[in-house]
């Protein structure tokens, strides 16, 4: 089992490294950082611009292979991801933002997985009954909405709710209320309040997708012989379903989780933009708009590491659930 997970981890790690390096090469080919400087007035000399670009390690006149190598050497020797075009360190920018994104991602993903699995199991057990129909049509509807639409609809709802109640029950712009006085607890409560809507927005899409998958995985399992065996051994229907049904249905789900995680990352980046959070998603979009190769690659590296962790976690879950891989 450990061998299996380690092998898969190495595979994911290699994929992540290649993906990040490809992103660097692709960004170098597409983004044109020099254009920023030539647009200024007075126009700087070519030598000045070249010096600036060389300093950042993004001069298009240097062969890409050489620049990728310098970038890698910098990581290994200085633990640095280079500088942004604003001459700040990419790594410090990222550490300032990573917490914001991780809070949203971790809470949202956990809620999505738990709610999705629960709804999927319920829908499968009550197949074709009213509750199943409601869950099914509900998740189809949510899956038909892009993340940003869900976010904005939630804002509209929250605004109406606030105006009906006459108080600011739910705040949703930004990560916290600037200039808020009060102790540690007030600050925490304020941040938690701001987290509510983005987290719901992220979790809704995930839960809808997981519930569809869990439902069909569960239906595959329900007709299996071992459920009948468990029942005939004297287990109640509920315990047979949970102990034997849900557990087996979670096996394909763990694989699906690893594959759908990239979608969750994209959704989180979009939701951060909608709710004007200063997270990694904003960092990535800004990097592209400002032709910032180092910042873009840093953001991609962050996402690649998250995919690596999610993939490994789902492999651990897979081998814990499925005795067949414990060789």
């Amino acid at each position: 089992m450990i061998g299996f997970v380690v092998k898969r981890f190495i595979n994911y790690a290699i994929l992540s490294i290649i993906a990040t390096l490809s992103a660097y090469v692709l960004a170098s080919a597409i983004l044109n950082p020099a254009a920023r400087y030539y647009g200024r007035n007075p126009r700087p000399s070519d030598a000045t611009v070249n010096a600036i670009l060389d300093g950042l390690g993004v001069n298009p006149h240097t062969p890409v292979i050489e620049r990728v190598w310098t970038w890698l050497v910098n990581i290994v020797t200085h633990g640095s991801l280079g500088d942004t075009i604003h001459n700040t360190s990419v790594l410090s920018e990222m550490t300032a933002r990573a917490g914001t994104s991780l809070r949203l991602l971790i809470i949202g993903t956990i809620i999505a997985a738990v709610v999705g699995v629960a709804l999927g199991v319920w829908g499968a057990v009550r197949q074709y009954k009213l509750s199943d129909q409601v869950i099914s049509y509900g998740s189809f509807t949510i899956l038909a909405m892009p993340s940003f639409v869900i976010g904005i609809l939630l804002m509209i709802l929250a605004t109406n709710l606030n105006s009906i109640l006459g108080i600011q029950l739910i705040n949703f712009t930004g990560e916290y209320t600037p200039g808020l006085d009060g102790g540690w607890w007030d600050q925490f409560a304020d941040r938690a309040g701001h987290l509510v809507l983005p987290t719901i927005a992220l979790a809704l899409t995930g839960a809808a997708a997981y519930s569809r998958y869990q439902r069909s995985a569960m239906l595959d399992v329900l007709s299996a012989d071992y459920i009948r065996t468990a029942r005939s051994k004297g287990r109640t229907r509920g315990s047979a379903l949970v102990r034997h049904g849900v557990r087996v249905a979670l096996i394909p789900m763990s694989t699906y989780f690893a594959y759908s995680f990239a979608t969750i990352l994209a959704g989180a980046a979009v939701i951060e933009q909608v709710f004007s959070w200063h997270g990694m998603g904003e960092f990535l979009f800004q990097a592209i708009q400002q032709s910032d190769i180092n910042a873009f690659t840093g953001a991609i590296l962050f996402n690649a590491i998250l995919v690596l962790i999610a993939g490994t976690l789902s492999d651990v879950a897979y081998s814990a659930l499925d005795p067949r891989v414990r060789v």
Partner: protein, 308 residues
């Protein structure tokens, strides 16, 4: 993705459906249609798609305003008999704008979805049929594309596509929409390859391309049709997200995504600017996905999760 390789090859679905004794064995497509007829999901989706298509084609006719008209007397007005969906800040008729945007989004979805499926079919069939080194490289490449969210690559590539016309967006969306289905097709092809009729063709010296075209692709066509149907909705979702952030359809072109972007500033105070285009978008994608899901169940009623 071991799960996908456990895909059962759908042999004869006739085995799962009782036929009346003495009646002729029905053809496969007839069987599928018979099952579809009994699915409310299918009818809801088909009727929804039909209505939205008719509306996109003929919806401008009864409207008093053209998409380009500016009604300076009623700027930012709410929905009324004069302007069915209200007007924007500069007096554009939102109803007319919505129809134009819907047309664009529909065209993109209807082309990009099937195009991605064709790519998935060809790449997946080649990987599964050739096996060996080719297979390894293709699978590895697919994994690489699945590691990072396509959205980030779309955004990175957008400077190139901004300078081209909106047609380029169709190819971009198709280029990032084939990976998962290609894996499914690959797994199917690997088991098809061992079947006698394909072996026979191979031993008779039929070349690879012909075998894939004549024997493999028709045998996985049901999967591809499902994927193409679901791909329509997926492509429209990607297009609206990209356009919303300004990375997709560029002005003066209008799509549902650009409309939603224009309406979001006032989403809270004048919700109709946002809610009407959003409702149309959800309706369209939902109809397409209901049809796709019903097709999936009708083609293969026995399997659950093992479908991509």
């Amino acid at each position: 993705m071991e799960v996908l390789s456990e895909l059962p090859v759908t042999d004869s679905p006739e085995a799962t459906v009782p036929t009346k004794p003495g009646s002729k064995p029905a053809s496969r497509s007839r069987m599928v249609f018979r099952r579809l007829r009994h699915m409310p999901r299918f009818w809801v989706g088909i009727v929804g798609l039909a209505l939205i298509s008719l509306w996109a084609i003929f919806g401008l006719a009864p409207n008093a305003w053209n998409p380009t008209d500016l009604d300076v007397l009623n700027m930012g007005s709410s929905p009324s008999a004069l302007h069915w969906f209200g007007t924007s800040d500069i007096g554009e008729d939102i109803y007319a704008q919505t129809i134009v945007g819907l047309r664009k989004s529909l065209i993109i979805g209807l082309l990009a979805g099937p195009l991605a499926s064709i790519l998935a079919g060809i790449i997946g069939a080649f990987a599964g049929y050739l096996g060996g080194r080719w297979d390894k490289v293709i699978v590895w490449f697919i994994d690489l594309l699945l590691v990072l969210p396509s959205l980030f690559l779309f955004v990175l590539l957008s400077p190139i596509f901004k300078s081209l016309s909106w047609v380029a967006l169709i190819f971009l969306l198709a280029a990032f929409g084939w990976m998962i289905m290609a894996r499914v097709i690959r797994a199917q092809t690997m088991s098809l390859k061992e079947r006698d009729f394909i072996k026979a063709a191979r031993f008779m010296g039929v070349d690879t391309w012909t075998i894939i075209r004549r024997h493999i692709l028709p045998n996985v066509s049901s999967l591809l049709i499902i994927d193409a149907t679901l791909g329509v909705g997926a492509a429209i979702l990607s297009e609206t997200t990209l356009s919303y952030f300004g990375f997709g359809i560029q002005a003066p072109d209008v799509s549902l995504g650009t409309l939603l972007n224009a309406g979001q500033g006032a989403a809270v105070t004048r919700p109709w600017l946002f809610v009407f285009p959003a409702a149309i978008l959800v309706w369209t994608v939902l109809s397409a996905s209901l049809v796709g899901d019903a097709l999936r169940d009708a083609v293969d009623p026995t399997s659950g999760v093992n479908r991509g």
